[in-house]
């Protein structure tokens, strides 16, 4: 792998983590973003599970697309087959986590199956196929970058919300309302990254 290649991968990472962050810039995966960010520990657990699923799902959906759908001229089937791939990866992850780490399983609880309906996962897989000259390593990096971006935002936001929970917030803004406002402000801040690089 040459230096130029490395730079390209670094660019993909920076682009997906900061510039085109899936949560705050492309507004995908907002349900776990609001739902699981109440406590820092659950946010970290959710981030780990999502990172694993997102990376694996983007690799597998790339393989499905490139080696099954494209040769057979069936690109129009990509949405339904990606949903299938994601559902299987999530189900599989759930089984493995249940077996290997009961505590993590208890903490993640309902949110593990909810990754299936996390639009960020399907969004990453679909956007991935739209990009020109896709290779195996690039899709893996793309998925990983998206996952790191998601985790970064989720953990930062959970930290903020833990602080807000003890702050003196005016009554009408308490709870989800101040969470929405905070998310909006974070999104504004992330728009500052636009123009850093173009991919």
């Amino acid at each position: 792998m040459g230096l130029g290649n490395m730079a390209e991968f670094a660019l993909i990472l920076v682009s997906t983590i900061l510039v085109n962050n899936f949560v705050l810039v492309q507004f995908l995966g907002l349900c776990p973003f609001m739902g699981v960010s109440g406590k820092l520990e659950t946010a970290i657990g959710m981030s780990a599970a999502t990172t694993f699923v997102l990376t694996l799902a983007s690799i597998l959906s790339y393989l499905t697309f490139q080696y099954i759908l494209v040769p057979l001229d069936l690109e129009f089937l990509r949405t339904i087959s990606f949903i299938l791939v994601i559902a299987v990866v999530v189900q599989f992850t759930e089984m493995v986590v249940h077996k290997t780490s009961p505590l993590l399983y208890r903490v993640l609880g309902i949110f593990l199956p909810l990754i299936t309906t996390n639009c960020a996962v399907l969004g990453v897989a679909l956007l991935n196929t739209n990009r020109a000259e896709q290779t195996f390593m690039k899709s893996a990096t793309y998925g990983l970058g998206a996952a790191i971006g998601f985790s970064l935002i989720l953990i930062l936001f959970a930290g903020l919300r833990e602080r807000i929970a003890i702050a003196d917030v005016p009554a009408p803004f308490r709870g989800a309302a101040i969470g929405m406002i905070t998310a909006g402000l974070m999104s504004l801040a992330f728009m500052g990254f636009t123009g850093l690089i173009r991919l």
Binding site: L72, D73, L74, L84, Q91, M95, P102
Partner: protein, 193 residues
């Protein structure tokens, strides 16, 4: 027409492959029971005294796994609560006085001269630590007794005393529950031997 056929076949094939993977994983990663319940059960003192409101330690472990407070176990006391808090990653709570106070380890003693052999205490004992038969004198197997005092209540002639168990080099142990520690006293000795 052939396009539709290929599409259907491809989806069918994908579904079959994924179904096979999941089916295999369901067998390979099968979970027997709920492991967290077993881990909690290992930390509880296994007196089976029912002071928490459950019929025994295992049901209380299931209760804790479903979100019940961890401070309902007087025989376990401070150290059990501490261990549960570490295991479940929750806050340490003071012992709930409603369910009783932490007492030194006790053992039941039957004043044998007064025993009428009614077997009521045998039926009450959750760990089968009382030996005897109808109209025969009963006695307590000290090693098996968990000191739960469930046998005191049913005795019609009040011949059972709860005596504090003196600490000797044989039964002294560090004051925190070890995970995977013995279920009852004799198991511990067997394990150590």
């Amino acid at each position: 027409m052939s396009m539709i056929l290929t599409a259907v076949l491809v989806l069918l094939g994908l579904a079959l492959i994924f179904g096979a993977i999941l089916g295999y994983a369901a067998i390979r990663f099968k979970v027997e029971g709920d492991p967290i319940v077993d881990q909690i059960n290992d930390v509880l003192p296994q007196t089976q005294c029912g002071q928490c409101g459950h019929p025994g330690c295992k049901p209380y472990a299931e209760g804790i796994a479903n979100g019940e407070p961890i401070n309902k176990c007087p025989p376990g006391g401070e150290s059990t609560i501490q261990a549960l808090a570490d295991l479940l990653d929750v806050e340490v709570l003071p012992l709930d006085a409603e369910h009783g106070e932490e007492k030194p380890k006790m053992v039941a003693y039957i004043r044998e001269a007064e025993c009428i052999g009614c077997t009521k205490c045998i039926q009450a004992c959750p760990v089968d630590a009382i030996l005897g038969a109808a109209k025969q004198m009963h006695t307590v197997i000290t090693d098996e007794c968990t000191g739960c005092d469930l046998c005191v209540e049913p005795c019609p002639v009040d011949c059972i005393d709860m005596l504090p168990l003196p600490t000797t080099p044989q039964n002294w142990k560090w004051d925190f529950p070890l995970p995977g520690a013995a279920v009852i006293a004799t198991d511990a000795q067997r394990g150590a031997a």
